[in-house]
């Protein structure tokens, strides 16, 4: 074993201090040093996507990043999605569409979709399919995953419109009030 280094990480909003070898990948650090085993390893060469996490909000392969590189970055893993036992809308969509069987690929797909939808909330089905092709799943045939991400996107759009309409109405009402 070689020299270790003190690093600080911020994962799911929690700060951590660790003394680790610099060669430890972010994935191994999350899994082995922080006990966040939701992030999986399926290939360790960037293709399967089971290790996908969010780095400053953007989906990234945790197997292709050393933990030392992740210092001062905001790391989010699958463990951050649910609120206690309350699943997130994306997680619920995965379950409703049977977008997981063995579930090994699932955390990666969830984080991939979470990061993507934040940037491209209006994505088309074709764009979603292309996104889903970033990761491998051996069980589902992908269609349910595409369905789930699309469904979640549409629901979010609808609730945003709802929210905008409400805000609009609010603004109008307060406008009237100001005018009166």
């Amino acid at each position: 074993m070689t020299d270790r280094q003190l690093i600080t990480l911020r994962v799911n909003g929690e700060p951590y201090e660790l003394v680790i070898e610099p060669r430890r990948t972010l994935a191994d650090t999350l899994r082995q040093d922080l006990g966040l085993t939701g992030t999986h390893l399926g290939c360790e060469h960037g293709i399967c996507g089971a290790c996908t996490v969010l780095v400053d909000g953007a989906p990234a392969r945790a197997c292709l990043m050393f933990a030392v590189q992740a210092e001062d970055r905001d790391i989010r893993t699958v463990e951050s999605l649910a609120d206690g036992d309350e699943l997130s809308d994306l997680q619920r969509a995965f379950s409703a569409h049977h977008a997981l069987q063995c579930g090994f690929c699932t955390p990666g797909f969830l984080m991939l979709a979470e990061g993507f939808l934040a940037e491209r909330p209006e994505a088309t089905r074709e764009e979603i399919r292309e996104l889903v092709s970033s990761n491998l799943c051996r069980c589902t045939g992908y269609q349910p995953i595409v369905d789930a991400v699309e469904d979640c996107a549409r629901r979010r759009q609808a609730s945003r419109r709802e929210h905008d309409r409400a805000a609009c109405g609010e603004a109008e009402r307060s406008g009237h009030a100001a005018g009166a």
């Binding site: 082995q32 085993t37 399926g42 409703a96 049977h98 579930g103 399919r129 092709s133 051996r138 992908y142």
Partner: protein, 792 residues
């Protein structure tokens, strides 16, 4: 058309079967709280990796591990000589003229038989140091010429992979040879021949193999957590190998990231890990990396067929003759042996067609490649491909529409006793074909094909018709002359004092949703809310016995055992309640968590009340009953099982400039009898079809002359992505099984079985104007491009 996604419905207690009950395994898997083998942490855990052979064939002249032990973090390193464990020998109940048993040592001793074979195990404080250690090993070899193809293996004078297997043949069996078949061929007006090769594939569960082994002094037991589809079989082999009593080994399967057959055999690495843990008296973990998973685990599917079929003038098939050679790689897998592929093909090849005369020769050949294990569908994807190509060829010769030709030959009267000594229970062979064709017509694909052809495009439509034997029991496996005969399943159902029920199953879900579907079956029998039922699997100390999950057996065999146990438990509840309610068991009934008098439904006892008496107030238990509420049941199949069936239809377009095969439409009409959970059934179909398409168009491991495999990663082993796998439209037919009480048939493999044939036929349909015919898989863009270019 039927909806593609099945809305989850809540079913009232008593009516779960048939409903798309939301999966009970989902919440933990969605939140990262699943527990896979690599997630297990034990204080003091050590990590193992293997020194593997760099050569495909040869003799190890020296292994020097002294430098390994000097690597910081390395704790130990062992060779075969250090561990002294017994190897794995899988046998069949057949004479040596038919089958040659061979041993797979846990670590290679002197001979190495494929590149990647484990030679030594290195144990270190962390996985990084373990790999540092592996690098420090010094091994020298006397290199032999490897055998890298079945052809080469069968050549006279070829080098021998196992000295005991002269000719490199591990199995040579002619299961059927109808008398007079040669005359039938000689006299038939139409004889067609198809020769096919299929590529060597890897099942690629996304979670690689792995194990954590730990000796427990208090229980005097080795506890091995490993991702296996067959925990009891791993226990048997491990105990033998380590010379322990079987009770001294406990095999536990945590959550498992897929298996597809690769994990239904006993691997050598987990035994080496256990042996190391035993020696060190410390917990040791091994997680296979992807490179090893692709090069040194179990592969499958590399087969050659030379098949002929004879037809009469009306297009009725008269005879089928097939010579099947399966390249099984370096070793026989336990318990199925290297015979698994040729025997499966030989036994089932006539499939859904009325074949009056049948001759088959099946051979398993050994080569210097990573060994083979069953992979989802086992041989059926291949022989269905061959059968469907034979029908397409014959249709061309006879100038009949290929769908019509199939219609004339499909089995329509059930039960049907085939030339292959199998009795098929009822299925919807003809209806599924008709519906599939109708769907593609109604959707306008035939019109599109015609228009495309007029415009110089290459669009083709292809079908495959097949059945899938599910519910292999001891009967079927004994017929194959296995000496370790899988088949039955055992369940224990136990109610606790709160009225909730724990049910064990010998099957092992790793994506198939048994925690949900088996609970649905039990909940209906027990008239109990599903939340009160917990399915327990994958622990040899908690599950009495079982054969795991493979061959689409779980719902048929395991599900039936669960149902029987639930029925028994219900009976026991009724007897107990009857005594306490002053009536007879026949005069009480189960209703939503209580047992009540039929004549006075207001009088009844809740399950918790009954359980309270059964355990805590045993003195109140009626005299002829035992206290407690636990029962066991077993289920086995001695008949030929039950056959699911399906027709697949694929529409493809070939792109001239690149040779790309684009799947424009994929329709699956499936019949698995009564679907316990339609959502899960559709999931099995879609996932299976994706794997079938993968085999048809993308995946293959080849070996060069030195026996080096072509793929060490997913860059070269091309598992298709969401952009290559099309959406699949699924239509359901329902022919209930008479074998199972629920009417369910298995559905685990069908998708994979049907897809290669449908895709291959569609490609050939698109190629028809060119006169080129492709029969080998995977079909690469390059071969398609060349075919199209030749024609133009």
């Amino acid at each position: 058309m039927s909806a593609h996604t099945t809305e989850s419905r809540h079913a009232p207690a008593g009516r779960y079967v048939g409903a798309s009950v939301p999966r009970r395994e989902d919440p933990r898997l969605l939140t990262g709280r699943g527990r896979f083998v690599d997630d297990i942490r034990i204080p003091g855990l050590l990590h193992a990796q293997f020194v593997r052979s760099r050569v495909a064939s040869g003799v190890v002249t020296s292994i020097d591990l002294s430098a390994v032990l000097d690597v910081p973090g390395v704790v130990a390193a062992y060779t075969a000589a250090d561990l002294d464990v017994i190897g794995i020998t899988a046998v069949l109940d057949r004479p040596r003229t038919q089958f040659v048993p061979t041993e797979m040592p846990i670590l290679a001793r002197d001979r190495v038989r494929f590149a990647g074979e484990p030679l030594a195990i290195v144990i270190a404080e962390d996985p990084y140091a373990a790999e540092d250690g592996v690098e420090a090993a010094a091994v020298t070899y006397q290199v032999h010429t490897p055998v890298t193809s079945a052809e080469q293996a069968l050549e006279p004078g070829a080098p021998l992979v196992h000295d005991e297997a002269a000719d490199n043949v591990l199995l040579d069996v002619s299961m059927f040879a109808t008398e007079g078949i040669d005359e039938v061929f000689a006299e038939a007006p139409c004889v067609v021949r198809v020769r096919t090769r299929t590529g060597r594939q890897n099942a690629v569960p996304l979670e690689t193999r792995g194990a954590v082994a730990d000796w427990d002094d208090r229980d005097a037991q080795l506890v091995v957590r490993t991702c296996t589809q067959v925990p009891h079989q791993v226990r048997t082999v491990m105990a033998r190998s380590l010379r322990l009593d079987e009770r001294a080994v406990r095999v536990i399967t945590p959550d498992m990231g897929g298996g597809f057959g690769q994990k239904c055999v006993v691997g050598r690495e987990e035994i080496a890990v256990a042996a190391a843990a035993l020696r060190l008296r410390r917990p040791v973990k091994w997680i296979e990396d992807r490179k090893d998973a692709l090069t040194a685990s179990f592969l499958a599917r590399e087969q050659r067929y030379d098949a002929r079929a004879a037809f009469d003038r009306d297009g009725r098939i008269l005879a089928l003759d097939a010579d099947i050679v399966c390249d099984m790689g370096a070793y026989s897998c336990y318990p199925f042996t290297a015979a698994v592929e040729p025997l499966m093909a030989s036994a089932e090849m006539p499939g859904v067609y009325r074949v009056p005369a049948y001759r088959v020769r099946g051979r398993a050949v050994t080569t210097n490649k990573a060994p083979s294990a069953p992979y989802r569908g086992v041989s059926r994807p291949q022989y269905v491909m061959v059968m469907e190509r034979l029908f397409e060829r014959a249709a061309r010769e006879l100038k009949v529409d290929a769908v019509e030709l199939r219609r004339r030959n499909l089995i329509t009267e059930f039960p049907y006793s085939g030339v292959n000594n199998i009795t098929y229970d009822a299925g919807s062979y003809l209806d599924s074909l008709n519906l599939c064709e109708q769907v593609l017509k109604d959707e306008g694909w035939y019109d599109l094909k015609a228009a495309a052809a007029a415009g110089g495009r290459h669009v083709g439509i292809g079908y495959s018709c097949f059945n899938e034997r599910t519910g292999y029991g001891s009967g079927a496996f004994a017929q194959r002359k296995m000496s370790v005969v899988p088949g039955f399943d055992m369940t224990e159902a136990r109610m606790d004092t709160t009225g909730s029920v724990t049910i064990t199953t010998g099957t092992l879900s790793h994506g198939q949703s048994h925690e949900t579907t088996l609970a649905q079956i039990a909940a209906d029998e027990l008239k109990l809310d599903i939340s009160k039922i917990k399915i327990v699997q994958g622990d040899t100390d908690r599950v009495i016995y079982g054969w795991g999950t493979f061959a689409s057996r779980s719902v048929v065999v395991g599900g039936s055992a669960v149902r029987l146990a639930a029925v028994k438990l219900a009976e026991k509840l009724r007897m107990l309640a009857a005594g306490l309610l002053d009536t007879t068991p026949d005069d009480v009934e189960l209703d939503d968590g209580r047992v009540r008098r039929r004549d006075d439904p207001g009088r009844g006892l809740g399950y918790a009340e009954l359980a309270d008496i059964a355990y805590l107030k045993a003195h109140l238990v009626p005299k002829d009953l035992e206290p407690g509420l636990s029962v066991t049941a077993t289920f086995d199949v001695f008949t030929d099982g039950t056959f699911g069936n399906a027709t697949h239809g694929a529409v493809v377009e070939l792109h001239k400039g690149t040779g790309r095969v684009e799947i424009l439409r994929y329709v699956c009409v499936e019949d698995c009898g009564v679907a316990i959970n339609p959502m899960v059934v559709e999931g099995q179909c879609r996932g299976g079809i994706a794997q079938g398409i993968a085999g048809a168009l993308f995946e293959q491991v080849t070996y060069d002359e030195q026996g080096e495999p072509s793929a060490t990663g997913f860059l070269d082993y091309k598992v298709p992505t969401a952009s290559e796998i099309p959406d699949v439209a699924i239509h359901h037919l329902e022919t209930p099984s008479a074998l199972t009480e629920s009417g369910a048939k298995g559905v685990g493999e069908g998708g994979t079985i049907g897809a290669p044939a449908a895709v291959l036929n569609a490609v050939n349909d698109a190629l028809a104007p060119t006169g080129v015919e492709l029969n080998d898989t995977p079909i690469t863009p390059e071969t398609v491009q060349r075919a199209l270019e030749q024609a133009s």
